[in-house]
């Protein structure tokens, strides 16, 4: 029997009983759709978390003063006693490292900001021009701190969106003079509202040149040095170079902690990736159930079509032909179910994305492929038994059946 005839014969046999075929395709479709939607949710959760982490900047290597083994951000890091200060000179030295793209020193303290009689407590971040690029921040208005000598700096400040709203309301903020602590700054830029980011809410931040911040807090040490590596691959060499440079500058003593955002990200990535696989496995059970359903329905079909099978044998069909006809039918039903499920699953994922734009519910390709492949394989595997039974039917007895 020719392949085209085989497919047409199987198609006609399948459409000859629309209810049976429809239910079977639906069962398979639900299985595949379950895989697609569940993995979309799990992988969406993974990417949501990764996005949140990435919001603090990508390819980051962070230098903390003090030796600690902590693998992530820890409030304790902020109050560890420091044997040796992490200075602006240290930060400047890091710019020479080959794997380093940008460096932004960060000195942090709290102070008061006042303008026109309004006063509030704010977190003041002293940094340099590259900070905005390293942290992936965007400006709503004006400009950021100008590049220049890190040891000096004009009395200019960039404020967060929330500060702007609270201090100025509807009035123009750019160009206004504010008092921060005992100094006066001119506002040159306003950060775009983000509302996210770990540890530090940039909406309630006042950013000033690092030298002025250190003077304001009367300290020489930096809170952090943010280092952006050239690329994702360059993170490891950047980390090594940064450690080495600081160690040399600190008389061979390793008194800083260098952490990579990558280490934190990788942990979450692994954790949530495992979750996705587990969820996919659970969803795959529904595919196995659908496979058993295929077997049942095909077995019933063989019983119903016994007389037809006997006839085909009388007309010269070999066992292989009969087997292939039933296998082709099982494969077609599975394929139709898989495609329908694929479409349904993607439609559901799209609806979820529309309803919750922040949540990237996109099924991973491997899960979609695995889901469709599992549907086909189970459909075929569970189609083998009915097809064999059909092929081995005795023609005389089959023909006698009505």
């Amino acid at each position: 029997m020719r392949a085209a005839d085989l497919i047409r014969f199987a198609r006609d046999a399948a459409t000859g009983n629309p209810l049976r075929t429809g239910l079977l395709v639906l069962a398979m479709a639900i299985g595949v759709a379950a895989v697609v939607v569940l993995t979309a949710l799990a992988d969406g959760a993974r990417r949501y978390v990764l996005n949140q982490f990435s919001a603090i900047g990508s390819n980051l290597v962070i230098v903390l003063p003090g030796r600690s083994q902590t693998g992530g951000f820890n409030p304790g890091n902020a109050i560890t006693s420091t044997p040796r200060d992490l200075t602006i000179d240290d930060a400047q030295a890091l710019r020479r490292a080959s794997a380093v793209h940008r460096v932004a020193p960060l000195a942090v303290g709290t102070s008061e900001i006042s303008v026109g009689g309004r006063l509030r407590e704010v977190m003041v971040a002293g940094t340099t021009a590259d900070f905005i690029a390293v942290r992936r921040l965007t400006l709503a208005q004006g400009r950021f701190l100008p590049p220049g000598d890190w040891r000096r700096g004009a009395s200019e400040a960039v404020i967060g969106a929330r500060i702007r709203d609270e201090l100025f309301g509807r009035d123009e903020a750019l160009g206004q003079l504010v008092r921060v602590g005992d100094r006066r700054f001119r506002i040159v830029g306003v950060l775009a509202a983000t509302g996210q980011g770990l540890g530090m809410n940039t909406d309630e931040l006042v950013i000033v040149p690092v030298a002025l911040a250190q003077a304001m807090f009367n300290s020489n040490t930096l809170f952090r040095i943010l280092v952006e590596a050239n690329s994702r691959e360059a993170i490891a060499p950047a980390k090594a170079q940064v450690s080495e440079i600081i160690r040399l500058r600190h008389e061979g003593e390793e008194d800083v902690t260098v952490i990579t955002q990558d280490a934190v990200l990788a942990t979450f990535d692994r954790l949530l990736g495992t979750l996705t696989v587990a969820v996919a496995g659970i969803a795959a059970i529904s595919l196995a159930v659908a496979g058993i359903l295929v077997m049942n329905v095909m077995l019933v079909s063989v019983t119903q079509r016994t007389a037809e099978i006997g006839l085909l044998k009388a007309l010269g069909a070999t066992r292989a032909t009969i087997r292939n006809a039933f296998l082709t039918e099982a494969a077609m039903l599975s394929l139709a179910g898989a495609l329908l499920g694929f479409a349904l699953g993607h439609a559901a994922a799209t609806v979820i994305r529309q309803l919750y734009p922040a949540f990237p519910a996109q099924p991973p390709d491997w899960a979609v492929l695995a889901g469709v492949a599992t549907a086909l394989v189970t459909g075929l595997a569970f189609g083998v038994l009915p097809a064999r039974r059909a092929a081995l039917l005795d023609p005389v007895q089959s023909l006698a059946r009505r």
């Binding site: 029997m1 020719r2 085209a4 005839d5 014969f9 006609d12 046999a13 459409t15 000859g16 007389a307 037809e308 006997g310 006839l311 085909l312 044998k313 009388a314 007309l315 010269g316 069909a317 070999t318 066992r319 292989a320 032909t321 023609p395 005389v396 023909l399 009505r402």
Partner: protein, 241 residues
């Protein structure tokens, strides 16, 4: 003298029904030449359908040998037998056995589809068959839209589409009224006149009397093998002793 098409010798067929054994066929020796018109008659349960199934390679004997066109076919594998059925044997059944979801034309084409004949060639032969059997206007009708006589004409067209040497008909008029039954028999006999060996199983004496040779069966054995009145039976093959 024509060479024998079918040679059966010492054919036994035993069915096991629970503990008891039923001898459906007992030491059948039979020789049928190409082009013969044979009626197999006998009461129900006499083994005539079993004999037909055996000749049609749908069933295997428990012992004995069957040579079809000089070739021993009892030892063939199931798939080889299927090929022989496809090329040499056409079946006509009492209950037509048309595939209900296929049209008349598709039913007729089915043996060619199973044999893997290219579609272009199939179309031409199906059109010819539809013309031959007066079914041109019924080509796209499904079996449930056809009358009994039309259905059996479709079945005969299907049985002959592969141009077999042998057509086996099991009670071909059993489900038809007298007029259409007569018409179907005429078609089958026309095939026989064209050189096709025709074996008809029937319990209708009048129908059997039309055949040039009648086999009478009872309890699984051949009771009588007689040519139609007056004719002489040609000894086409010497039965092995």
């Amino acid at each position: 003298m024509t060479a024998p098409l079918i040679e059966l010798s010492r054919i036994e067929r035993v069915f096991h029904l629970g503990d008891s054994q039923v001898h459906a066929l007992q030491s059948i020796d039979l020789c049928i030449a190409a082009g013969e018109y044979v009626a197999v008659m006998g009461p129900s349960g006499s083994g005539k359908s079993t004999l037909l199934n055996l000749i049609g390679l749908l069933d295997r004997p428990d012992s004995g040998s069957y040579r079809l066109a000089g070739r021993d076919v009892t030892t063939l594998s199931a798939d080889e037998q299927a090929r022989v059925r496809s090329e040499r044997i056409g079946f006509v059944f009492q209950s037509f056995h048309l595939v209900p979801r296929l049209t008349a034309a598709e039913n007729i084409a089915l043996p060619m589809v199973l044999a893997g004949i290219p579609p272009a060639q199939r179309g031409e032969r199906v059109r010819q068959a539809l013309r031959d059997y007066g079914l041109e206007n019924r080509a796209d009708h499904r079996p449930d839209q056809l009358s009994g006589g039309q259905r059996q004409r479709v079945a005969i067209a299907r049985a002959t589409i592969m141009q077999p040497a042998l057509v086996l008909a099991d009670e071909p008029t059993g489900n038809l009224d007298r007029t259409t039954g007569e018409e179907v028999m005429r078609l089958l006999e026309e095939l026989n006149r064209g050189g096709v060996t025709l074996i008809v199983v029937t319990h209708d004496g009048a129908l059997g009397a039309r055949a040039r040779r009648q086999l009478l069966m009872a309890d699984g054995s051949l009771q009588q093998d007689r040519p139609r009145s007056g004719g002489t039976r040609s000894e086409t093959c010497a039965l092995p002793t």
